[in-house]
C-alpha cells in the first residue's frame, strides 16, 4: 500500500499523549457509534506505485487516441499541437500546487499570469473586460445567459441551433430553474436565421463559427439583438478569432467559449477552460475571479484579486455566480500558448487552418456521393452530406484507420446523413488526401450496398 503520511508508531503515541486521549478512536468521539463503519470500506487494498502505473497504462491502451488513428473528429474539442514548453512550465510546482491566490504577496506569479491571460482574451474578443476563466465552454454559455437575465430582466433566450448542442442543453438545464424560456432559432443554408424577437428576450446566443462550421455574420445578429433590447452572446472558437472580426467589434456584449484549443490537451473532454469577456457596463455582473493591477506599500507594481464583492465568499446569496474554483492552470496554458504563437504566428496559424480546411472541403465535395451541407465560409470545420448511411461509412473508415468526423444525425435529425469534419494544424495535406481516399471509397461501397439492398 502506498502512503503519503509520515506518522510513525512512536509519533502517534506521543501525539495522542499531547492531545490527552488514549487512542485514535477517541478522536472520533463526536461521531455516534451507530454511524461508524463496522467494517472497512469495500475497496481493494492499496498498491505500489509501479502497479498503479501499470494499471493506468493498461486502461490507456484500451482507448483509441488521436495517436492511434487519423482523426478528423472535432465538434467542440480539437486535436491540436500542444508545444513542449507548456508541459514544462505548467508542471512547475509553483504553478501546479498552490490554490487560489488569497494571499497576493506570495501569489504574484499566478496573479500576473491571470492579468496577462485577461489581456490576451480582451485582445482576441475585442471586449474590455475578461475574467480569469470559468469551467469550460458550454457551461460558460449558460453563465452568460445568467448575466443577461439579470442585466435585462427579460424572460426568454433565443439560441441559435448552430450553438454547440451541449451548450444548448446546459442552458436549458439552468433556464428551467430561472423560469426562463429557451427558443431555438433555425439554421438556413448553414447560418442562423433569427425569428422575430419580440420584447422579452434577454439574449440572442450564437456560435462563431457555428456547430456546422459556418462563419456567422455576428454584426448583423448583434444589431438585431440590440434592436429588440436583448444582449448578444457569442460562443467563439478562440483560434478562429485570429482571422475573424472580433465579437467586440461586431457589437457582441458577452463573448465566451471553449479554451481547449489554446494549449490544452483533449483529456477526453476536460479539464480545459472557458473564457468569458464582457462590455464595460457588465463589469460588475461578470462571474468568477478577476486579477487587477495595483501597487504595494512601497509603491511597487503588483497584482491582486479584485472586484471580489461580486463573489460568493463575500456576497454569498447575492453573488453574481456560485463559482469558486475555476481553471487557473488551464488558462495559464492558454496564455503561454498565445505568447508562443505570438502576433504573427497566431494569424499564420489561422491562415493555415482556413486554407487546409478549404482544401479538405473541396477534395471531399469533388467525390461522388459527397456534397457540402452548406456553402458558407468556414474556418476549421465543415459539414458534408453523404449519399450513404453515415454510421456504416464511419465503420468502414475506422477499419482503415481513419476516423472521418462526427455524425450529425443525433443532434440534427434533418441532417441524418451529415458528417462534420474538423481540420487542425496536425492534419497535413497528405493526411487529408488519405481521408478523401478512405471516405470516398467507403461512401462508394456503402452507396452501392444500399442501392443493392433497395433493389432487393
Amino acid at each position: 500500500m502506498t502512503e503519503y503520511t509520515a506518522v510513525t508508531d512512536a509519533d502517534r503515541r506521543q501525539m495522542l499523549e499531547a492531545i490527552g486521549v488514549g487512542s485514535i478512536e477517541d478522536l472520533f468521539a463526536d461521531i455516534p457509534e451507530a454511524l461508524r463503519l463496522a467494517q472497512g470500506l469495500e475497496l481493494d487494498a492499496g498498491r505500489s506505485e509501479q502497479e498503479v502505473y501499470a494499471e493506468l497504462r493498461a486502461l490507456a491502451a484500451r482507448n483509441v487516441s488521436t495517436e492511434d488513428e487519423l482523426s478528423f473528429v472535432g465538434a467542440g474539442m480539437y486535436d491540436t499541437y500542444v508545444p513542449a514548453l507548456i508541459d514544462a512550465l505548467i508542471t512547475r510546482a509553483e504553478f501546479l500546487t498552490p490554490y487560489t491566490p488569497y494571499q497576493p504577496e506570495v501569489s504574484q506569479g499566478g496573479l500576473q499570469t491571470m492579468f496577462e491571460y485577461q489581456t490576451a482574451i480582451c485582445e482576441l474578443t475585442g471586449l474590455p473586460v475578461s475574467n480569469a476563466s470559468v469551467y469550460e465552454g458550454p457551461s460558460a454559455v449558460a453563465a452568460a445567459g445568467y448575466v443577461a437575465k439579470h442585466a435585462t430582466g427579460a424572460h426568454r433566450f433565443v439560441v441559435s441551433r448552430g450553438v454547440h448542442p451541449h451548450a444548448i442543453e446546459t442552458l436549458r438545464t439552468m433556464s428551467h430553474s430561472w423560469g426562463m424560456e429557451v427558443v431555438e432559432a433555425d439554421l438556413r443554408q448553414g447560418v442562423t436565421e433569427l425569428p422575430a424577437l419580440g420584447d422579452d428576450v434577454a439574449a440572442v446566443i450564437v456560435a462563431q463559427p457555428n456547430f456546422l462550421g459556418a462563419v456567422e455574420d455576428l454584426a448583423a445578429i448583434a444589431a438585431a439583438a440590440h434592436d429588440a433590447g436583448a444582449l448578444c452572446i457569442a460562443c467563439c472558437d478562440p483560434v478562429a478569432l485570429s482571422l475573424l472580426r472580433s465579437p467586440g467589434e461586431c457589437g457582441v456584449d458577452i463573448a465566451v467559449g471553449e479554451g481547449q484549443t489554446l494549449g490544452n490537451r483533449l483529456d477526453f473532454g476536460g479539464p480545459s477552460f472557458g473564457f468569458f469577456a464582457v462590455t464595460e457596463p457588465l463589469i460588475r455582473r461578470i462571474p468568477g475571479r478577476i486579477a487587477g493591477e495595483t501597487v504595494d506599500l512601497d509603491g511597487r507594481r503588483g497584482f491582486t484579486l479584485t472586484l471580489q464583492t461580486r463573489e460568493q465568499h463575500i456576497r454569498r446569496e447575492r453573488a453574481t455566480s456560485n463559482i469558486c474554483t475555476s481553471q487557473a492552470l488551464n488558462a495559464l496554458a492558454g496564455v503561454i500558448y498565445l505568447s508562443w504563437l505570438g502576433r504573427d504566428g497566431f494569424t499564420e496559424l489561422g491562415e493555415l487552418l482556413v486554407r487546409r480546411t478549404a482544401y479538405a472541403r473541396d477534395r471531399l465535395a469533388a467525390l461522388p456521393g459527397i456534397e457540402t451541407l452548406h456553402d458558407q465560409p468556414v474556418f476549421r470545420e465543415f459539414a458534408v452530406t453523404l449519399d450513404a448511411p453515415v454510421e456504416a461509412v464511419i465503420e468502414r473508415c475506422l477499419r482503415d484507420g481513419v476516423n472521418p468526423g462526427y455524425p450529425l444525425g443525433s443532434d440534427y435529425p434533418e441532417h441524418e446523413r451529415g458528417l462534420l469534419v474538423a481540420i487542425t494544424e496536425l492534419r497535413s495535406a497528405a493526411e487529408i488526401d488519405r481521408l478523401a481516399t478512405v471516405l470516398g471509397d467507403a461512401v462508394v461501397a456503402e452507396r452501392s450496398g444500399s442501392l443493392q439492398e433497395a433493389r432487393r
Partner: protein
Amino acid sequence: MTDAGPATSARDAQLTIFERSRRGRRAFAPPALDVPRRPLDELLPAHLRRAQPARLPEVSEPEIVRHYTRLSKRNFDLDSGFYPLGSCTMKHNPRLHERVAALPGHARLHPLQRPERAQGALELMWRLQSALSEISGLPHVSLQPSAGSHGELAGVLLTRAYHEDRGERRTKVLTPDTAHGTNPATVTMAGYEVVKVGTDAHGNVDLDDLRAKATDEVACLMLTNPSTLGLFEPAVAEIAEIVHRIGATLYYDGANLNAIMGICRPGDMGFDIVHFNLHKTFTQPHGGGGPGAGPIAVSDRIEPFLPRPQVVRRDSHNGSDPTRPVYDLDFDRPKSIGRLRGFQGNYGVFVRTYAYIRSLGAAGLRNVSETAVLNANYLLARLRSLGVLEHLPVAYDRLCMHEFTLSGAPMKRDLQIRTLDLAKRLLDFGVHPPTVYFPLLVDEALLVEPTETETRETLDAFAEIVAEILREAAADPEIARGAPYTTPVRRLDEARAARRPILRQEL
C-alpha cells in the same frame, strides 16, 4: 522564497509578457503550407475578417520560458512549504498522477470518441463511480460537475427535479450560518430563497432554529459535516430526521470529506446528495485555482434525475470476449435534469483520483482521515501548550476533526494585531497562512487545516512560529502590522484595485 534575484532589477521582474514584446520576435514556426495558397478573400469575405491582428506578445521561446519561470518563483507553493489553508485540504500531490494523466491514451483521447473505442476511459470512470459510491455510502454517482460549486448546483437542481416529479413546489433552501459562501450563492443561482440556520453554543446546528424553519416550503438543507468549524455534528441523525419529515432533501457539502473516509459515510447519516471535491480530498493539484472536479453521489430516490449522460456497465453480448463487460454512455434518461457542461466531465482529474484511490486502498483512505484528524488535534494541543490559545482561543473548545477554528479577537484586543496581521507575518516565516475571516460567525477567524501529509516536525515548527509572532507582537505590534517584509511585494492596495480597476494591459 526570494525575488527574481539580484541580477534582475525590481522593475524588470514585474514586466508583463506584453511589455517584453518586440516587433518581429517569435517562437512559433508554422508547419509548411502544403495546400494551395488561395487568397483569403476567396475563403473568408473581408467584412467577416478582422482589420488588425490581435496584438499578442512577440517574444522568443527562451524569453517565454524565462518569463514564466521567473513568475513561478513569485508564487508560494505546496512543494515549498506548509500550507494549512482551512477548508482547502492542501495535501501532497503525488507526481505519479501527472505521469499517468499524461499518457497519450488518456490525454489525447477525443471526448466524442465512440464508446467502443474508449473502453479504458469509460471503465476507469465506472470504477471511480463505484469507489466514490462506496466511500460516500450512496449508490449512484455522476462524475460530470466541474468543481465543488458545480456539484452543489447539480445537487440543488436534482432536488428541484425530485420535488417537481412529485408535483411539489418548494421555494426555500436552508443553509447553516457556518456554510461556505458557495452554498447560499448556489441556492440563489438555482432559483431558491436562502434561509439561514443558526449555530448553538457548542458549534453545532441549532436544532431549535432548524425545527422552527423546517416548513413544507423547504426543499433542502445543505450541510457541511464536519462543519466549517472543523466539528462533527453529533446530532446529524436527528437533523436528517427533521429534514426528511418535511419531505426535503439533505445535501452533503463534501469539502470536509477528508476527515471521515472509511470512518463513517454521508449515506449512512441520511444524506441524499453528496458532492466530492476531487482537488481537495483526492489530491488533484489545485493549479493556482483549478482545475478541480465535483462529482456527486445520490440516493435511489434522486437517481432518475442525474445529469446526462451516465457511464454504465452492460453485460457483453456481442464482443469478442463475452465475459468482459462493455462500458457505455447512457443518454436515455427521460427524467434527467440534463447536462451541466460539455462532454463527460474533467476526465484528466478522474485519472488522478482513480490512481490515488488505487494506491491507497481501503486501509490507506482510512489512514488518511485518521492522520488528518490526529494532525489537527496535535497541532491544536501544541498551540495550547505554547500558550497561543490565550490570545487565539479555539472558537469551540472540543476535539476537532481535520481542521479547527481559532478566534483572533483577544489577540486584537490585547496585542493590537489582527488576524490579517498574523497571517501576513506568517509569510515572512515561509508558511502559507490558514484561511482567515472564515467562518464568518467567528470574530477574527483563523481556520487551520494541516492535512495528513505533514510531519509532526512541521506541525511543531508552525506552532513555534505562531507563538513567536505573538511574543513579537507583545513587544512591538508594528512589526506584524507592517508585515510581510520578505515577499516579492508587500501589502497591496486592494481598495485602489477595486476603485479604479485595471484588469488588462493597455496595448
